[in-house]
């Protein structure tokens, strides 16, 4: 029964799921909830549920329980969506669960950050099945593996919560959790328009995504899905630029895996300078236009 089921909520999650399953070292199948898979990514079987959108957790989970019964490990990329659904699945399966795995020691031992990244816990699972959500940064995606043989599957949805409305923000920019460059802004950005012009402008020039601190989200300067940190999104770009961000442990917990961290802050004693690879003590309203001009000149 040592077999992994990768649950991919959309096609973009298939490759990172395959990366984790490969690191786990067991044969694996993929269940794709929405959309279509282009290649099998090394999976033995690829099940295609073909739903238009991911249903609410309570109506989707019972159908996943039935399918998951044959597996020792059921895994998905960490996201708010997977935390919502996979933890309910773990509850229904009476499974052990590991949230936000960053490394695998064996199929029963994982590493995960706790206390806003102040410690890395080595966690042993004591029962089977095991449900895992993982941060993709630590698990390289396997090479393309040719055509998938897709097996359509019907997920019987149960009666559950009713989705009344849905609003998506963002649009146009790369996904924060996948982006190669992330530019984030904090509390001192005056208002939503200034945030968009200053932070969004630099991000667009670098082809990057936009992030924010909780303070910026709370004061309505940035929308909630942009929040980066312990309780927001975890990012791991090549370049993270933090402008007007003090460097709270809660924020830093979300950016530690970034390759290069740049801090722009007018307070030379701001804690973020302890973490930044490159720190610039400056007013962000002067520094960002100057950076944009320097980037233009360099072309």
């Amino acid at each position: 029964m040592a077999k992994t089921l990768v649950i991919a909520f959309d096609p973009a999650e298939v490759a990172s799921g395959a990366g984790f399953a490969t690191a786990l070292g067991q044969p694996f199948d993929v269940l794709l909830i929405t959309g279509n898979a282009a290649n099998n990514a090394g999976a033995e079987r690829t099940f295609l549920a073909g739903l238009d959108s991911v249903p609410p957790a309570d109506s989707l989970t019972p159908s996943l329980v039935a399918l998951a019964r044959g597996y020792s490990h059921i895994v998905a990329v960490s996201s708010m969506r997977s935390k919502d659904i996979m933890a309910r699945l773990a509850g229904a399966l009476d499974a052990a669960m590991v949230t936000d795995a960053i490394a695998i020691e064996s199929p029963t031992v994982y590493k995960r950050p706790i206390v806003a990244g102040a410690a890395i816990a080595t966690v042993e699972t004591l029962t089977e099945p095991v449900v895992v959500t993982f941060r993709p940064a630590g698990f390289p995606e396997p090479a393309q593996q040719g055509e998938a043989t897709l097996e359509p599957i019907t997920l019987e949805l149960s009666q559950g919560s009713k989705r009344i409305s849905e609003s998506m923000h963002g649009g146009g920019r790369p996904d924060l959790t996948q982006a190669r460059v992330v530019v984030s802004g904090g509390r001192p950005l005056k208002d939503a328009a200034t945030f968009e012009k200053v932070i969004g402008g630099l991000a667009d020039q670098l082809g990057g995504a936009v992030g924010a601190t909780r303070a910026a989200v709370d004061s309505g300067i940035a929308s909630n899905e942009l929040q980066v940190g312990q309780t927001g999104k975890i990012v791991a770009p090549d370049l993270y630029i933090a402008a007007g961000i003090s460097g709270s442990t809660q924020h830093m917990a979300g950016i530690k895996d970034s390759k290069t961290i740049v801090a722009i802050n007018n307070d030379p004693s701001a804690p973020i300078f302890e973490f930044a690879d490159l720190g610039l003590v400056a007013d962000l309203y002067d520094a960002i236009p100057a950076i944009r001009a320097a980037l233009d000149r360099g072309k």
Partner: protein, 245 residues
């Protein structure tokens, strides 16, 4: 209508903490314990809902050491009507907490279990969803707005791409996110006054059946020290050198 709010005692989320040198736990010397900030938001929300629906009764519950009384007293001071302390020195992992809360919910029959989306110590984000599954109740996680209507609750919840509104028939489990509200400040006299409110101590009705065990804690890998740059040109130059742009 009854709202049950589980409350966890956690290390002060704003303290600088590190693991003990032998990796057996966190070094708690000199660190205060607080109510998990998300649970505080859940209590605050329950109290605000009661302002609109006076028939609501708010029951706060904590599972753990006797010291969790402090956090329950705070919940009472914020406005909870009564508190239950399920005392145990054993380790309850998230599924075991969900089992115990499910047993309590069957006895107490709340209409809504309103709880934090995660605890800031173990950052697991599991208990609410596991509990909802065990009870077979609808769930709405990461709430940023809650409206109770006849027989159901409308929850605006945060998603990876924005937000959505779910309608859940009651009883239901709702977990709360940071934007839902800003908890009221309770000064010490308020907490002392809450001593007259009922706090019921009991033993767990389930014995914990841990499905995971923490073997050890290590400090996070240190980042190589960085440096300050003197100008924008030096910054852009350094970024080009690193191939970051």
């Amino acid at each position: 209508m009854k709202i049950l709010v589980p409350v966890k005692r956690v290390l002060d989320p704003f303290a600088k903490v590190r693991p003990l040198p032998d990796g057996s736990g966190m070094d708690t010397a000199g660190v205060k314990f607080e109510m998990n900030p998300f649970d505080e938001i859940a209590i605050e929300e329950a109290v605000r809902q009661r302002d609109q629906h006076p028939e609501i009764e708010i029951v706060a519950v904590s599972i753990g050491l006797p010291e969790a009384e402090d956090q329950l007293r705070k919940a009472l001071a914020m406005g909870a009507d009564k508190a239950i302390l399920i005392e145990s020195t054993e380790t309850f992992d998230p599924p075991s907490i969900a089992d115990e809360l499910a047993a309590l919910a069957r006895a107490e029959q709340p209409d809504i279990i309103l709880m934090g989306k995660q605890a800031t110590d173990d950052d697991s984000n599991q208990v609410g969803q596991m509990l909802a599954a065990k009870l077979g109740w609808p769930q709405a996680t990461f709430a940023s707005k809650i409206v109770i209507v006849a027989g159901s609750v409308q929850v605006t919840r945060e998603t990876d791409t924005g937000d959505e509104v779910l309608e859940c028939a009651l009883p239901a489990v709702v977990t709360v996110d940071l934007r839902l509200n800003e908890p009221r400040y309770i000064a010490l006299p308020g907490i002392i006054k809450a001593r007259s409110k009922p706090l019921d101590r009991r033993a767990p009705t389930t014995s914990p059946r841990p499905r995971t065990r923490v073997r050890r804690l290590d400090p996070p890998p240190a980042r190589a020290p960085g440096r300050k740059v003197a100008s924008v040109d030096e910054l852009v130059g350094a970024l080009r050198e690193r191939g970051a742009i």
